[in-house]
Amino acid sequence: MSDKITGFLAAVDELRGEDSTVRTTAHTSRVSAEGWPAAQGDDAEGDTGTTEENRTV
């Protein structure tokens, strides 16, 4: 099993190649069902494309 795991991990590294970037697209939304613009100031729409070292929402 150890040889199989070792071989698997080597193959995974080869599959990923140099592209180790992990991107997240996070989305936060808030609107009021009672009507905009009352909720405008609280809105926080956004999408974030980041690397694994730099992720924010």
Binding site: V12, L15, V22, R23, A26, H27, E45, G49
Partner: protein, 299 residues
């Protein structure tokens, strides 16, 4: 309601990417995807298999690694249920995980994963049906085959949803007991998965030096985030405009407010969007992004 115009979410490079990627993932352990699996379903679940098997291998968990190698669909077929866009896995895990690959929480299908409760399944089915009825069936069929429910919210709450590029075809969403609202967020997140796949399939590496003003974040952002926002939000605007006639009461007010707000955000993005599109070398991809943005601007 007349059948709405389909936006054309089939993208040939992505159609080639999905089966090739599945083949390469399963070649890692000399397994094969279940023969009956559709490419998009196999693509989404193969990445759960890959991430799960890798995590088990790195942790030295031989039993779990053996389970993944014996289940190249990560157990997805046993969990899947039919929807308007095909078989989908709908789950509502109690806990998500973080790991060195992402500080954004996520979830991997594993031997202990069970299906979401019946109410969640019914809500999901209704949302997939609404999305299909409004012209977004191909988008969800290709890019939202694993639905991970997060928290239950009210109309006035803040909703979180996200995707992670290591799990294409999987979407993480807060929800409210309103299929029209859930479909909006499924479409938004599936849009992100669609664009990530399209960029990968066309070998597009976006220059991250140029910045563009994002009205959603109220800050300058690189092309990747800006183009994602100018794709995913317009998709939800087009959907919302189409679905409004099927809604009433608080749900209708919620979506109407959302559409009004998005109109104001999108209105000033034209010049920056045109400039950002020049960084996309593939003409077909560029046209997809331009056409959706333009349609939403016109709402």
């Amino acid at each position: 309601m007349a059948t709405p115009t389909q936006l054309g979410f089939r993208f040939a490079p992505t159609d080639r990417l999905h089966p090739e990627r599945v083949r390469r993932i399963h070649a890692l352990t000399a397994t094969t995807a279940p023969a009956a699996a559709e490419h998009a379903f196999a693509y989404a679940t193969a990445h759960h298999y890959l991430e799960g098997a890798e995590a088990a291998a790195r942790a030295g968990d031989r039993d779990l690694f053996a389970w993944y190698t014996a289940h190249p669909d990560a157990g997805a077929h046993a969990l899947a249920a039919p929807t308007a866009v095909g078989q989908c896995v709908v789950i509502a895990p109690e806990q998500l995980i973080t790991s060195p690959i992402s500080d954004t929480a996520y979830y991997l299908l594993n031997p202990h994963t069970g299906p979401a409760p019946a109410g969640h399944q019914e809500l999901a089915r209704a949302a997939y049906t609404l999305a299909d009825d409004t012209g977004f069936g191909d988008l969800l069929a290709g890019h939202a085959r694993v639905l991970v429910f997060l928290g239950r919210k009210g109309y006035n709450d803040t909703f979180d949803s996200w995707t992670i590029s290591r799990l294409p075809g999987t979407v993480f969403v807060d929800h409210i007991d309103d299929p029209a609202a859930l479909a909006r967020d499924l479409i938004h997140e599936a849009g992100h998965n669609w664009l990530n796949d399209a960029l990968a399939a066309t070998g597009c590496k976006l220059d991250d030096q140029a910045l563009f003003h994002s009205p959603w974040k109220r800050t300058p952002r690189p092309a990747y985030g800006f183009l994602h926002a100018c794709w995913a939000f317009p998709l939800t605007m087009i959907y919302t405009a189409r679905v409004l006639e099927r809604t009433e009461g608080a749900g209708r007010r919620f979506l109407t407010s959302y559409l009004d707000l998005q109109r104001t955000f999108l209105a000033g993005t034209g010049p920056d969007h045109a400039r950002a599109l020049t960084l996309v070398p593939d003409p077909d991809l560029r046209e997809h992004l331009r056409a959706v943005h333009q349609q939403a601007i016109g709402l």
